[in-house]
Subunit: 242 residues, 2 copies
DNA sequence: CGGTCGATTGACACCTTTCAATACGGGTGG
DNA sequence: CCACCCGTATTGAAAGGTGTCAATCGACCG
């Protein structure tokens, strides 16, 4: 049973910019349906040219690139509210793959109707560009983290950002939220080996900074964790919801 | 003496998508003037809200973030054809700083006229989004490089991409092109220490893979260098020119 | 000529990776 | 019902890449 855009639970989140009623109507007509996929399902493949675009409604996933020798780099975690497939829609093919790590529900949009954004709804086209800029901004932060932080700091940074995102969309309560990834996923995201990631997680746990166990992340004191990461505790930039 | 958009030398480059005559006229009217700056000049500051946007015409620069403790992460090198200030234009403020490392000539656009893109010229708005997607794509590649490659591979990767870009805009001839950065800049871009960068450069030189000296980069055999980087030698994705 | 900036080198410490082995839970087939 | 297999998490030890500290050198400049 598909959710009506007008009643989309994500709209209540503080993270997203408001829609005008007209925008909501427009998105509704643009929406083809809803889709549920199992953990492990690959939604989009690098180099593919999907006829569809998505917005994550529920569940988690990740974007990643695969290298020639089989290793992979996780570019980004996918959370509810994220728009998926922009690159394919614009550049013709995906620069990375997208996979679900938990059960996911997605809004499905038709790529063919995509162009009408730019012709008939300039505000929505503007939002799309904004979204791309937000992604770039975040990726710049990730790059900085990998380049300048030690493993402990990098994990701390990641957990702070994750917790902030979780709080802003109502996934987190009192510093506790679900986090459906394997240690290998996090290792690939931060450019660390699995073994070292595991040991660094143990260190964060013993210092009572963050505890990630059985798909549950708990952070007793976000400020202390941010301190370890050497980051300012700023709120996430607002972003459009497609 | 300002260059007319219709005679912009960059249009002849294979890297950029074509403009329609109408697009060219539109950009011309949007262009406020030209600007020349000295090496070392900061064009945009992180957190600032510039009233102007730029396209690099000549010269080189870099985008970077500064950390609390004074270190910095170089996000991207700036080459002729790059659009500067999109984040400020969209999100209100820059997520990074932009600095010239050589003398630069820039096209100056007025941010106020920016919005007319989306209302009156949907194709150009589309290009803008495309541009943001290309940047994100490239940053994903950089992230992969930092996360998965060793120092030797990372430098090789960087030089391949730089040489490709140089060739596509006519800066490089026979594997030789100007490259106006310090070793420290490249170190900050790849998340390496200055010392290690220096030693790795020496290694590339002794193996006759790449020689970067006195602002000149020379690569005798691009394929061999790409091989060291462990990358496929694909051509750069086409991008819009603003 | 002293001073500054960027490039270069050597030695050493440290973070991270790699190799190996164990533990634990869930699923499957005998 | 139990043995077996597989994916994930953990742990120890050794090897290797990278960072830090320090000193030298050359070019440019006031």
């Amino acid at each position: 049973m598909a959710t009506a855009c007008a009643h989309c639970p994500l709209h209540r989140s503080s993270l997203f910019l408001d829609h005008s009623p007209d925008d909501t109507r427009f998105m509704q007509q643009f929406k083809v349906g809803e889709m549920t996929i199992d953990p492990g399902t690959t939604l989009l493949m690098e180099g593919s040219n999907s006829p569809q675009l998505f917005t994550a409604l529920r569940g988690m996933g990740l974007r990643y690139k695969t290298l020639a020798d089989g290793r992979r780099q996780v570019l980004n975690l996918v959370f509810p509210g994220d728009f998926i497939g922009l690159q394919a829609g614009l550049m013709g093919e995906m620069g990375h793959s997208v996979q679900a790590t938990s059960a996911m529900t997605l809004c499905v949009f038709d790529r063919a109707g995509f162009w009408s954004f730019f012709r008939s709804h300039p505000e929505r086209a503007f939002d799309l560009t904004w979204l791309a800029a937000v992604e770039e901004h975040f990726m710049g932060e990730a790059l900085t983290s990998m380049g300048q932080r030690t493993a402990l700091g990098a994990l701390a940074w990641a957990f702070v950002r994750i917790m902030q995102r979780g709080e802003s969309i109502g996934l987190a309560k009192d510093g506790i939220m679900p986090l459906a990834y394997r240690q290998q996923d996090m290792a690939d995201a931060l450019g660390l080996s699995l073994v070292h990631t595991n040991k660094t997680l143990a260190r964060l746990r013993s210092r009572q900074l963050a505890n990630w166990h059985d798909g549950i992340l708990s952070v007793p004191n976000l400020e202390k964790l941010a301190d370890v990461a050497g980051m300012e505790l700023e709120s996430l930039p607002k972003r459009p919801l497609m």
